[in-house]
C-alpha cells in the first residue's frame, strides 16, 4: 500500500480537476459527492498505508515514494516525493478523515449556494495541498502544500467576495501567512546550505548526528518556528485567524480549526531533531510563545459574542497549547492534542455551523438560547465537544491537555505550567458560557422573529452568502434542526471526541499497560523524545495528582460560568478591551494606516519626485541650458564675428601660450 501513497493526494487532485472541468455540469449536489468521494478515497488509502506500516518493524516504518524529480538543479535535487512514516500517516488519517466528514457536512451546509461546485473545487484543492504538506518528503514539497493551503484558505475565506470584509479577511490571512513563509523559506535555505539537501531525512539525520553547528540548528529551528507562527496563528501573527471566520463554516472547521492551522505544529514535530540540536533557549522561547498565546487568546474568547469568534480564539488558544507542548519537548502530546483538538473543534465548528444554519445565518450568541429543544442532535454533540475541550475526563481533550501540562511542568518549570492551568480554567469558563448562551436559557430570538432576520440582513450580514436564496423562503422564523447529511458528521465527530483519548492514555495505574502511550510508541521512529525523558522528574512522579488538579480547574471554570451565565449569581464581566482583542488588531491597523501608509506614500513620492524628477530634471537642465545658449545666437553678424574672434583668441592662446615656447 505504501507504493501507492501518492494516491492520497491524487484522489483530491482528480476530484479537483473533474470539478474544474465539469463542475457546472455536475452542479448540486453531484460536485459535493464527487469531492467527498475523492477525499474518502484518500482516507481509504491512508488507512491502507497505516496497516501496511503497522505490519512492518518499527525501524522499517519509513518509506519514500518518489513521483518525479521536481526541481533538480546542481546540488539542489528536490523530488516530488512522499514520505510515509507513522507521523505523516497519522496526519493523513485524521486530515482525510475529518475532511471527508466536513465535505459531507458541507453538502448540506452549502445547499442552494450558487457557487456550490466552486466551493468543493476549493475544498478538494485544499485537501490536496494539505496531504502534500503532511506527506512531503522534503521541506519544499511541504512548502508547496503549505502555500497551497494558504492559497485555498485565501480563496475560501473570501468565498463570498462581494462583501468587502470577507475579501479583506482573505487577503489578510494570505499576507500574514506570507510573513511566516518568509521564515519557512529562510529555514529551507539555511538547511540547504548547511546540509546540501532540503529533505527531512537528511536534515534530521544531520541534526541528530550533531554535524550541524548549534547556531545553524537554532537558526533553522527558529525560522521554521516563524513559519509555524504564521500558519498556526500564534502571537504575534494570530490576527488573521479570527477574521478568517468570514469564510463558510465548514471552512472554519476544516481549515481554521482542524487541519491547516495545525500544520505549524506538524512541521515543528517533523523537524524535532533540529529543535533538539538547537540551543536550549530556542525550545524555551517556543514554549513561552505558545503559553502566552494560549492565555492571551483565552482571555479574548471570554468576551466574544459571535459564536464562531469564540471558537476561533479558542482555536488560537489551543494551538498555543500545542506549541507549549512542542517547546516542552512533548512532541507526541502536541500531535495528540492536535488530533483530539481536531475532533472536538471540528465538531464544535460544525455544530456552530448547524446552529447558524438553523438560525438562518445568525451568529450573535446574544440572540440565541434554548436551542437544545429545537436542535437536539446539534446540541448534544456540541455539548460533547464542550466537555472535551473543557478538559473533563474521559473526553479526549482531557488526556491530551493533561499530558501537555505534565511535560510543561517537567521540562519548563512551574511558571509555564501555571499559565497553562489558568488557560485551562478560562477555556472551561468561556466554553461553558458559549454552551449556555446558545443552547440553554431563554430563547432570545423569538421576540424579534422576522424583523430580526430582516434587520440582520442589513446590519450584520456577516456570512450572508445570499440569505434570501438559502432561507428566504421560510415564511416565519423558527430554528430548525439540520438535515441528516449535516448531522452524521456531527455524530461521528462527537464519538471521536468522546473516545479519542484512547490513542494516548497516560501511565496511570488503572489503565492497562498495553493501552498506555500507544501514540508515542507508534510515533517512536519519528519522535524519539517521549515519556522516558521525563520519567525522573518530580512532576512525573505526581502525575495523578496533577491530573486531579487539572480536572479541578476545568470544573472550577465550568462552575464559575454556570454561576454567572446560568444562575445569574453575578453580572458577567466582559470588559470592552477583551471584546476588542486587547486592541491588538486595532493597533496594527492604526500603524498600517498611519505611519506605515505614510512610509509607503513617502516611497511613492520619492520615486516620482526624486528618482523620476532627476531624469526629467536632467532633460530640463539640457533644454534650459540650451535656451540660455541660444541667446548667444543673436542673428547679428557682428556678434558672430566677435564670437569667432573669441574662438580665435582662445585657440591662439592655447597654441602660443599653452604649447608654444612661451
Amino acid at each position: 500500500m505504501l507504493d501507492v501513497i501518492w494516491l492520497i493526494p491524487a484522489f483530491p487532485l482528480v476530484g479537483f480537476l473533474l470539478i474544474l472541468v465539469f463542475g457546472r455540469r455536475l452542479g448540486e449536489p453531484g460536485a459535493g459527492y464527487l469531492a467527498a468521494g475523492a477525499v474518502l478515497g484518500s482516507f481509504v488509502v491512508s488507512v491502507g498505508a497505516y496497516f501496511d506500516l503497522l505490519s512492518r518493524d518499527a525501524e522499517e516504518r519509513s518509506h519514500i515514494e518518489t513521483v518525479f524529480s521536481w526541481v533538480p538543479v546542481s546540488q539542489l535535487q528536490v523530488d516530488m516525493a512522499f514520505l510515509a512514516d507513522p507521523l505523516s500517516i497519522t496526519m493523513c488519517l485524521f486530515v482525510t478523515g475529518i475532511a471527508f466528514l466536513i465535505h459531507l457536512f458541507a453538502i448540506g451546509y452549502m445547499h442552494g449556494d450558487p457557487k456550490f461546485s466552486k466551493f468543493f473545487l476549493y475544498l478538494n484543492l485544499f485537501v490536496l495541498s494539505m496531504t502534500l504538506l503532511v506527506l512531503g518528503e522534503n521541506l519544499l514539497v511541504t512548502f508547496l502544500g503549505w502555500e497551497g493551503v494558504g492559497t485555498c484558505s485565501y480563496l475560501l475565506i473570501s468565498f463570498w467576495h462581494t462583501k468587502d470584509a470577507n475579501a479583506s479577511a482573505g487577503k489578510k490571512a494570505f499576507v500574514t501567512n506570507r510573513i511566516g513563509d518568509w521564515g519557512f523559506m529562510l529555514a529551507m535555505f539555511l538547511g540547504f546550505w548547511a546540509v546540501g539537501s532540503v529533505s527531512y531525512v537528511a536534515l534530521n539525520e544531520a541534526a541528530e548526528a550533531g554535524s550541524l553547528a548549534t547556531s545553524t540548528a537554532t537558526g533553522i529551528a527558529l525560522l521554521l518556528f516563524v513559519g509555524a507562527v504564521g500558519k498556526s496563528a500564534q502571537l504575534p501573527l494570530y490576527v488573521w485567524l479570527p477574521d478568517a471566520m468570514a469564510g463558510p463554516t465548514p471552512v472554519s472547521a476544516l481549515i481554521h480549526a482542524a487541519t491547516m492551522v495545525t500544520a505549524g505544529v506538524f512541521l515543528m514535530v517533523r523537524m524535532n531533531p533540529m529543535l533538539t540540536a538547537a540551543a536550549d533557549w530556542a525550545p524555551t522561547l517556543i514554549a513561552w510563545v505558545g503559553a502566552i498565546t494560549a492565555l492571551f487568546a483565552a482571555t479574548i474568547a471570554l468576551a466574544q459574542n459571535d459564536i464562531k469568534k469564540v471558537l476561533a480564539y479558542s482555536t488560537v488558544s489551543q494551538l498555543g497549547y500545542m506549541f507549549l507542548a512542542v517547546g516542552s519537548g512533548a512532541y507526541v502530546a502536541a500531535i495528540f492534542h492536535m488530533i483530539t483538538h481536531a475532533f472536538f473543534k471540528a465538531l464544535m465548528f460544525l455544530g456552530s455551523g448547524s446552529v447558524i444554519h438553523g438560525m438562518h445565518e445568525e451568529q450573535d450568541m446574544r440572540k440565541m438560547g434554548a436551542l437544545r429543544k429545537f436542535m437536539p442532535v446539534t446540541a448534544a454533540t456540541f455539548i460533547i465537544g464542550w466537555l472535551a475541550i473543557a478538559g473533563v475526563p474521559p473526553f479526549a481533550g482531557f488526556w491530551s491537555k493533561d499530558e501537555i501540562l505534565l511535560f510543561t511542568l517537567a521540562e519548563r518549570g512551574v511558571v509555564l505550567y501555571v499559565i497553562g492551568l489558568v488557560t485551562a480554567v478560562l477555556t472551561a469558563f468561556y466554553m461553558t458560557r458559549q454552551v449556555l448562551m446558545v443552547f440553554f436559557g431563554d430563547a432570545k430570538w423569538g421576540s424579534h422573529a422576522n424583523e430580526a432576520e430582516a434587520a440582520q440582513l442589513e446590519v450584520t450580514p456577516d456570512t450572508a452568502a445570499d440569505p434570501p436564496v438559502t432561507h428566504g423562503a421560510h415564511g416565519e422564523f423558527k430554528p430548525h434542526e439540520s438535515p441528516p447529511i449535516m448531522l452524521v458528521p456531527l455524530v461521528v465527530l462527537a464519538g471521536l471526541a468522546m473516545v479519542g483519548g484512547v490513542i494516548q492514555l497516560p501511565s496511570f495505574g488503572f489503565i492497562p499497560k498495553s493501552w498506555q502511550y500507544r501514540l508515542e510508541h507508534w510515533l517512536e521512529p519519528v519522535v524519539e523524545f517521549g515519556e522516558a525523558q521525563i520519567k525522573d522528574s518530580s512532576a512525573y512522579g505526581n502525575k495523578e495528582l496533577l491530573a486531579l488538579l487539572a480536572i479541578a480547574c476545568a470544573l472550577a471554570g465550568i462552575a464559575a460560568a454556570v454561576a454567572i451565565y446560568s444562575k445569574k449569581l453575578r453580572e458577567p464581566i466582559e470588559p470592552e478591551i477583551l471584546a476588542e482583542g486587547w486592541r491588538y488588531d486595532w493597533a496594527i491597523s492604526a500603524f498600517m494606516g498611519g505611519p506605515g501608509r505614510k512610509m509607503f506614500d513617502a516611497v511613492a513620492w520619492f520615486d516620482k519626485t526624486i528618482v523620476d524628477g532627476a531624469v526629467n530634471g536632467s532633460a530640463r537642465v539640457v533644454s534650459g541650458a540650451a535656451g540660455q545658449l541660444r541667446r548667444g545666437q543673436t542673428g547679428n553678424v557682428r556678434n558672430y564675428a566677435g564670437i569667432l574672434g573669441v574662438g580665435v583668441v582662445l585657440l591662439l592662446a592655447w597654441f602660443v601660450i599653452g604649447r608654444g615656447v612661451l
Binding site: 541667446r631 545666437q633 547679428n636 553678424v637 564675428a641 580665435v648
Partner: protein, 108 residues
Amino acid sequence: MTAVVLAAVPTTTYYLVLAAILFAIGAVGVMVRRNPLVMFMCIELMLNAVNLSFVALATRFADIDGQTAVFFVMVVAAAEVVVGLGIIISILRRRPGVNADDLAELKG
C-alpha cells in the same frame, strides 16, 4: 641718434609685427562696423596683412614662393570683391540703406 636710425635695417620681424597689427585692426573693424561695405574693406585689410607677411617672409627666405602666394591672394581678393559686391548690391538694391545689424532675422 639719427645715424643709428638711418643705419638700422628693419628686419623681417618688424614687417611681421606690422602685419599682425594690421591684421588685428582689420579684425576689429569687422566687429565694429555696421556698413557691410566697410566690413568688407576691413577684410581687405586683413588680406593685406597676410600679403605683407608673405612678402616679408619671401624676402627673408629668399624664396619666390611667398610672392607667388601673394599673387594668388590678390586674385582671390579680386574675385571675392566681385562676388561680395554682387551680393551686397543684390541686397541693397532691394532694401536700400540696410546695415549689418538690420540683417538679423535669422537667429536663435
